[in-house]
Symmetry: C2
Subunit: 349 residues, 2 copies
């Protein structure tokens, strides 16, 4: 079967009896400076419609020097939805946000880029002629700077490096976390434990701070050993922390876990120890990515990852359309978390 040729602007021009320039002008409407009479405008539109004409995005990209591709550097290059759900979901939502605007995402994954060294990343994206980049929790300030120096619109998300003035989009853990803890307190819990990341970045730190502050505000004492800090959001450490909590002489009646992965680990520990959720232990997780897809479904604090992705893409596309890079305009967007109540919480026995 011969490859079917699709219509080009030449075809449309011929059919409408005008030049290709007019076709371009008409189809780009207000974007173009070209003035066209109403009559020919309609003829061109009709011809384009009849031929199912759509401008070749590749030719357009070449001419406009705009690939309509946006680069994404996830925080982790492990590409599995279940090991590392947050960066993974961000990638998914970025792709969804892009496609609506006729953009694409190219992601720096372990398979695609040789190493995560800054030089390699910059090269990788430059070679692909990306129009801008989204950096998820960049590891170093230098990395961000290198992209900015290249003149690319850059948006940092989740854990920005504020030293480099780029727009950033972050999540405010507090609203959802406060709601979660007050939910527990309202139901009568006074023995509330915490499992979370012990790192210094505000994105991680604020979950713990919020826990401490909210309990203090309600005069709830946190016993020794009820705060378990991990070095990462992974299942193993969640499981270990869960076992540790069960082994305590003073056992809590409820638990806030600062990540779905950690919560899954804790849940596995409880299951193995025959500690039922919520009968023997109430449990609230943070992320709400797969919290609903566990047995039992977990009450969880949802991060607005889809909104983060949309805003990130919108910022870059705006910068592109204004032809002004994102630097300087260090606009910071802060999006709130929200509590979703499911069946993993009940009053203490």
């Amino acid at each position: 079967m011969a490859k079917t040729r699709v219509a080009t602007s030449t075809d449309v021009a011929r059919r409408a009896g005008v030049s290709r320039a007019v076709v371009s002008g008409v189809l780009n409407g207000a974007m173009s400076t070209m003035r066209v009479s109403e009559g020919t405008r309609l003829r061109v539109l009709a011809a384009a419609h009849e031929l199912h004409y759509s401008p070749n995005p590749i030719a357009r990209a070449l001419r406009r020097q705009r690939s309509n591709v946006i680069g994404f550097v996830p925080r982790s290059s492990r590409r599995t939805p279940y090991e590392d759900p947050v960066p993974f979901l961000l990638g998914v939502h970025l792709a969804a946000a892009c496609i609506e605007l006729d953009y694409h995402v190219v992601e720096a994954t372990a398979e695609s880029v040789r190493s995560r060294e800054t030089d390699e990343l910059v090269r990788f994206f430059l070679d692909r002629h990306v129009d801008g980049v989204v950096l998820d929790s960049p590891e170093t300030t230098a990395e961000v700077q290198r992209f900015v120096d290249r003149g690319l619109p850059v948006v940092q998300i989740i854990r920005p490096r504020p030293e480099v003035p780029t727009p950033s989009i972050v999540v405010d853990a507090r609203p959802g976390t406060v709601a979660a803890l007050e939910h527990l307190i309202d139901l009568g819990h006074r023995r509330i434990a915490f499992i979370g990341h012990g790192g210094p970045h505000p994105a991680d730190r604020s979950r713990l701070d919020c826990f401490t502050a909210t309990l203090a505000r309600h005069n709830v004492t946190v016993h020794d050993g009820w705060v378990r800090l991990t070095s990462d959001y992974d299942i193993e450490q969640g499981r270990a922390a869960g076992h540790t909590l069960l082994a305590l002489r003073e056992r809590p009646t409820s638990l806030f876990v600062a990540g779905d992965n950690l919560a899954l680990g804790a849940l596995q520990a409880f299951y193995q120890a025959m500690v039922r959720v919520p009968d023997d232990m109430s449990l609230v997780s943070y992320d709400d990515i797969f919290a609903a897809h566990l047995a039992p479904p977990l009450t969880s604090v949802a991060q607005p990852l889809a909104a983060v992705a949309e805003r990130a893409i919108a910022l870059i596309v705006d910068a592109l359309d204004r032809a002004g890079p994102t630097e300087g305009a260090a606009m910071d967007v802060i999006l709130p978390t929200r509590l979703t109540v499911r069946g993993s919480v009940r009053p203490p026995a």
Copy 2:
């Protein structure tokens, strides 16, 4: 910050003191018919290296009439990794397989394409100038035919329509499923139930057939009501089936569930009913996508989705490189499932 210009073939040519044509010839090596002396070859290579030159993929795509983009029509357009894990994961693996070959995937999702009507899909991909398409379990023969008629390389995966002669890649449920059932039987189970999709397509049907055949071969009787058929792979129906099984007078001691989603639903039903897995009920799932990420981690039959994706991409890229469409060469690839043993099975009480 001014946008940094990346080197073009003109820059390399100037630096090496040759024409752009030679640059192209040298960099495409064996691909090109051009003969170049060793000396200039090295000069060009050196110049390209010094300038960090990489051919502009957009210009190349325009000239070669190859976008390096492959279209993907997932079986379901619900784009969430936890509601519809199989089509979702296929998309992820396709993207991974593509990026290694410097291809991209564009996926027909609910957000990207107006409707799933065949006309819309074809238009969508034609407008994006895809080089080929991967169809996951196409709904109609006509849909496949339309793509073939357009002269695009087409590969069908998972549930192909054999009426249209395209290469296809399918999964053989049997090896893993037989292993799973014999695993149960070896441990002493004789009361084995089944939850699965009741549809007529071999991909679904074979899981049930394999269940029936394997039990028969081992002289294990299947009681009335122990085979629960659903109309889809979703959590709700899994949960309902789980509850139904528990309500039976003759309760099974073990259960094979033909999809992770269904298994999750069943697990939730068991959890709610205080039926412990594996203590009171052994459970094996099919898919092994998030089976390990449950409490308890489930023994599961893994589908080789990554391999399916790789083969699909490889078939299309091969067809492209040979400039021969995929039609006619109705090669069928069959990839085996494999059992992964975890902690959800134990001998009957």
